[in-house]
Subunit: 333 residues, 2 copies
DNA sequence: GTCGATCATGTAAACGTTTCCATACACTCC
DNA sequence: GGAGTGTATGGAAACGTTTACATGATCGAC
């Protein structure tokens, strides 16, 4: 494949000059510029990004490690990250951790070796030595959606606390008393935060928190289904099932439908995370919606600031309750 | 950041030796190997993939350009591609063309400059000069899901013809006669293929093909909704609406629900492309399912063969009809 | 006890850029 | 007309690896 040398020879100039027109340096006559451009076209020249990166120590590439690309929430975030990055002239490499810490580490290692200019991580489970290394070595790093305690890394995330309080109040107002929660993993900040908010909100509404109504899933559909099954098998099954993410809601829905139960009469359902099709279900599912696109865009902006070594601050955006009919009909609205 | 030289100095060996242990060459004593490994750990050495790629002319990276990452079909495919590639020791860079030819070209250019070892493209619209260049220059290229006519490029795709015939027969058997189709763009091979199969199947069943029942969408939800609205406004609205992909089905569903119409009594619905939540709708949506994961995996295998300069053949996998209840109750089953 | 063979290790070139520094030429100004 | 200024261009080093080739040591066979 033709290189800068061939172009230089073909145009009758030095490689330095070719490099200059490549980088739009003003120190080139319009005339030579044209000569060089012609040579490039003639030779079908394509700049070698690898060589350029080696020399400039920059790849104009960002790494994004997400929990699960099949989760519409992450997909939406990834899409926004990609859009914002492209607008800033960066490419993004997406790594799918599949919620597995080893796989997350695999990607951290790979992307670091690939010398991405910055890294966006939605941490899966706890801090790993590799991530710590990353922080210590000062590679630009930003946490997205989830955070890791004790690490001085800026984070861009949504806060669902207020929305969860709204939801529990909504449920309470509709007359439900026995509310069960399928939480996310303790190891994830989002899992912890949502559980904590749920517990607080329950207390605030003077609702009983029963141990058998509280189980921990793994943010995947299968666990949502299994836990919903256990809830429904209880001597006193809950009146409401609230799930910690949309995938577990899907799983719970599977189980409810499989038993031929009606929503909300037999059991009500609500989900943290909203997805496009919740509105088409009968009844439409009440959910808490997170600003996925905004999170993605902010994350890129913050990361690029870090890449430029400017000081940055974490960003917290509110999640919001969307009341539909899966917990019961609201009085009037 | 520490380089191979620093490691060599620290371990008291030459850079060649360090490189050898890096590449697991057998020509190194266990003793020196250990010395070198120790030095690496001590210096927190991370191989520089950029330099390595420059030297070896290989990046162990694959490019994947898809139509729309928010489309669950593409997301599933992307996920499979990524899994298969990782298993083979490759990273994949996903480019989201958003169904826009310029953006597709942007990614082709960027990925080519980044010197990916191979490129997987789901072509958006027609052949562009850049893609032609790509073919001519012999960079390993495989089309995924969609093909481009007149180009000698291996393709991995699903064939929906048989499934569409099955669907039309199913619809016919249920007594429907007025069937409308929201097709995909003429410019996409999948759009053309599905329209053609639909027309053939209609003829086979002796069903009338009316012009006003045939409109072309762009595989996005909004166009599905707009076209469904026009169908429903017709003096003789169709009894069945069949959409060319899942996003347009979602749009049509929006419109049907907004008008308070019942499925299938007022209008039946079927979709090319199946998604997880169709089964939870009331009634569940009859759809044609494509083997997205298999397509992705095959595509990587074929591409890697091409990367190794071995001859390859196109792969065609069948799509399959999944009958649910959105076109009416089946007799017995 | 010497001659090859085998093997671990080292030296240095190459990969395709960018960029510092030098050079040569064209002006301007007095 | 010569010194000084400015500017377009070129030469060559450097980025961090891999690898062909060279080198010296060890060892077995005669």
């Amino acid at each position: 494949m033709a290189g800068i040398k061939d172009v230089a020879a073909h145009a009758g100039v030095s490689v330095a000059t070719v490099s200059r027109v490549l980088n739009d340096s003003p120190r080139v006559t319009a005339e030579t510029r044209e000569k060089v451009r012609d040579a490039m076209r003639a030779l079908r020249y394509r700049p070698n990004g690898v060589a350029r990166s080696l020399r400039t120590e920059a790849t104009r590439t960002l790494g994004l490690i997400i929990g699960d690309i099949l989760n519409p929430f992450f997909a939406a975030m990834a899409r926004a990250v990609e859009d914002e990055a492209r607008a800033a002239g960066y490419t993004v490499v997406i790594g799918n951790a599949d919620e597995r810490p080893e796989q997350q580490d695999h990607y951290v290692r790979t992307l670091l070796e690939q010398r991405v200019d910055g890294l966006l991580i939605c941490p899966t489970a706890e801090t790993t030595p590799l991530v710590e290394d990353c922080v210590r070595s000062g590679s630009p790093l930003v946490f997205l959606d989830r955070t890791l305690p004790g690490l001085d890394v800026p984070a861009v995330r949504a806060d669902g606390t207020e929305a969860i309080h709204d939801l529990v109040r909504h449920i309470h107002r509709l007359g439900h008393r026995r509310v069960a929660f399928i939480s996310g993993p303790e190891l994830l900040s989002t899992g912890r935060e949502r559980t904590r908010a749920f517990l607080d909100a329950m207390r605030e509404c003077d609702l009983d928190i029963r141990d058998e109504y509280l189980e921990t899933g793994d943010f995947q559909a299968a666990s949502g289904r299994a836990i919903a099954a256990r809830f429904l098998d209880l001597p006193h099954p809950p009146e409401v099932i609230f799930t910690g993410d949309n995938l577990m809601a899907l799983g719970a829905l599977d189980e409810i439908r499989a038993r031929g139960l009606r929503i909300p009469d037999d059991v009500a359902l609500a989900s943290f995370d909203d997805v496009a099709w919740f509105v088409h279900l009968d009844p439409p599912i009440t959910a808490i919606t997170q600003p996925a696109e905004e999170l993605g865009r902010h994350a890129v902006r913050v990361l690029l600031e870090r890449v430029e070594r400017r000081p940055v601050e974490s960003v917290v955006l509110p999640a919001r309750l969307v009341i539909r009919r899966s917990c019961g009909e609201t009085e009037s609205t």
